[in-house]
Amino acid sequence: MEDVIIYGLLRGGIYALAAFGFSLVLGVIGIVNFAHGVFVVFGGLLTHYLATKLGLPYVPALILAAVATGLLAGLIQRLFIARTFTSEPLMVLVQTFGIATVVTELGIHYWGSQERVLRVETGLPPGFFIGNTFVPSFDFVLFLLSLISAGVLYLLIQKTRFGRAVRACRDERQSAQLNGINLSRTFEQTMFVSGAWSGLAGGMFIALSPLAPYMDFDWTINSFLVMVIGGLGSMVGVLVGGLIFGVLAFASSFYVPTVAPAVTFSILLLFLLFRPQGLFGSGQGTRK
């Protein structure tokens, strides 16, 4: 059991990282971004491309890919979502679903649809033990990196002008506008941050497990599950939700592998029934 929890937590850091952007966009712009998983996959595959085709070391490739993913997200916001997000929620849902399909198909066409994994030679020792569980060094480094990234995002939201604008837009959009906050710009920046952090998650994940363009929807759903568990509007909630989801996903794959997705979704249903605001959400009123 100890090993299941530890390995689940190690994966959970990346799930949390992927879900921050999803939660941020839902909280600030007020849309369920079905294209969110595309950012994770795009970031991962771009990291792979930069490292294998252009020969960049892993960390620069990871950062460049994250920035590029952020730019892609910002572009999607400016060209598409900005024009429809005030419409019926269903319209935006369909629109983001369409964007996901288009980007994925283009990715398959130009990148190929096969799964890719990035071999990273770290020079680190193989790992260490926590109790009886062997913890691989690289997994642990990526876990730490995901926590640090979460911390950076937290500071960005809490301590910067951009963060204040984001929180103002999230809490009271009209008042924010009256106070001179440029809504369109803030939304674009929000989408950039969402994309960048998702791209970072993808770039970290591809060093552990294969990614392929067709996996985007899985990542959207995973991010949604993390947010449901952790609660909307809470970064701590998303982080804890990601870690819990990591453990749940690992445990279900360990104990009941052939029905693992059913188990994971059962947890989602239970949360929606008994604690729809999630563990750290501030009540149903926060949902827009």
Binding site: D3, Y7, S113, Q114, E115, A212, F250, S253, F254, P257
Partner: protein
């Protein structure tokens, strides 16, 4: 996609010319020849669908290139019933979707009016294809499905299979390991929850029983499994195991080796499936591929020949220089499909060369040598030359060599394997 020399001509002029020519032919002959013969006059039209996008994209492209390579090799001309005819291919993307395969096969037969059908990739897709082909009384030669379901449902009367039975894939690998000293006593299987992989596992189980190798665990994983850490953890918790076998495809091998090596699970032998020779495996695993065992239906070192190539090595060299990559055995297997049609059609009745019943009879009676190996079919339409040579990867920059059976062996095998 057209694989015709010079491309598929669909200009308005060509359509009008064809229509006019057809009308004149009908008028002057006073009879209506079979629509298929009319539509394909002068050319043998081959058709198929492959999963050119999706999980099997890479292997599908090797099949497509294999077909194309055969067409190039024969210079887009073959002899049919003593008459030289051109060659034309129509290849569709079926996205590995059986419904789409059925739809495309219907289109190939009724709209594209193909003469010969090459099989799809995968069991369900091949069954869907063969169901449609059977309705039109067409023959299918396939090399993309090893499942016994093909034999049971469509084998022999519709479908002819160039790949050995799924249950036979890993028999030689187990036989090989059983020759080692000290002989392995335990094995753990990682089985993908899909009929064809169950058949692989069934063959392994049976052969392990005959060698007194005890199966200590069978980890069932869903077909779309992404994370193999839980599986690796279970294998680690088993304690020392002599053999870990993952009868699955290349990505499963990659994921599993990654996780086993990360967690320090050290079996004495690891059987990584039938696609370890796919370049992505070496690219992804690097030196961790060392001593991994795989099986393959074909290798360039085998002593085969056919009317176009003196050896598999020559085939491989020309294929690689044509397409710029070194293919897995699928290239030779795919190439063998039209080659088999070529052999069967050679002595066809000139009056009705593509009569499908006569074609099936010719296939049943066929026996010839190809660079893929000797080709002849049993009563279920399955190739008689079953069994997979065993290969193992050697060195820090791993190179695959055949280690079993002894008659084909290029190197002594390594057992127990070096730690990851």
């Amino acid at each position: 996609m057209s694989r015709e020399k010079g491309g598929l001509d669909l200009s308005r002029r060509s359509i009008l010319k064809s229509a006019a020519a057809g009308g004149v032919a009908l008028f002057t002959a006073g009879i209506v020849p079979s629509a298929r013969a009319q539509a394909t006059a002068g050319k043998v039209h081959f058709g198929c669908s492959l999963p050119l996008t999706g999980t099997y994209e890479k292997v599908a492209r090797i099949y497509r290139d294999g077909y194309d390579f055969w067409a190039r090799t024969v210079n887009y001309e073959i002899t049919v019933g003593g008459k030289t005819m051109g060659v034309r291919w129509t290849v569709y993307d079926d996205e590995n979707n059986p419904s789409r395969v059925a739809q495309l096969t219907e289109k190939l037969i009724t709209s594209d009016r193909v003469n010969c059908i090459a099989g799809a990739y995968g069991t369900d897709t091949n069954l869907a294809q063969s169901a449609v082909a059977a309705r039109h009384k067409f023959a299918v030669i396939q090399a993309g499905a090893a499942s016994s379901r093909i034999d049971e449902e469509v084998g022999g009367h519709t479908t002819f299979t160039l790949v050995g039975a799924a249950s036979s894939y890993y028999l030689a690998a187990i036989d090989y390991l059983a020759t080692k000293t000290p002989s392995p006593k335990t094995i753990a299987l990682v089985v993908v929850d899909d009929p064809v992989y169950h058949e692989h596992a069934a063959g392994i189980r049976e052969r392990c029983a005959s060698h007194n190798i005890k199966i200590v665990a069978e980890e069932m994983v869903p077909l779309n499994v992404q994370d193999f850490r839980p599986t690796a953890l279970k294998l680690k918790n088993l304690g020392p195991v002599d053999i870990i076998a993952a009868p699955a495809w290349d990505v499963v091998c990659i994921k599993l080796v990654q996780e086993l090596s990360t967690l320090g699970v050290q079996p004495k032998a690891f059987i990584g499936g039938h696609l370890t020779a796919n370049p992505i495996v070496k690219q992804s695993l690097g030196s961790r591929l060392q001593d991994v065992i795989g099986v393959t239906l074909w290798a360039p070192s085998l002593k085969y020949k056919d009317p176009h190539f003196a050896s598999p090595a020559e085939f491989l060299e020309k294929f690689s220089s044509t397409y710029g990559y070194t293919p897995t055995y699928h290239a030779a297997m795919a190439y063998a499909i039209p080659l088999t049609y070529e052999q069967a059609l050679k002595n066809a009745d000139p009056a009705d060369p593509f009569n499908q019943e006569k074609l099936k009879a010719a296939l049943r009676a066929l026996s010839y040598d190809s660079v893929f190996g000797p080709v002849s079919f049993n009563e279920k339409g399955r190739i008689r030359n079953e069994g997979m040579p065993v290969l193992q990867w050697f060195g820090a920059d791993p190179v695959a060599k055949i280690v079993y059976p002894e008659s084909m062996a290029e190197a002594d095998g390594a057992y127990p394997k070096a730690p990851w």
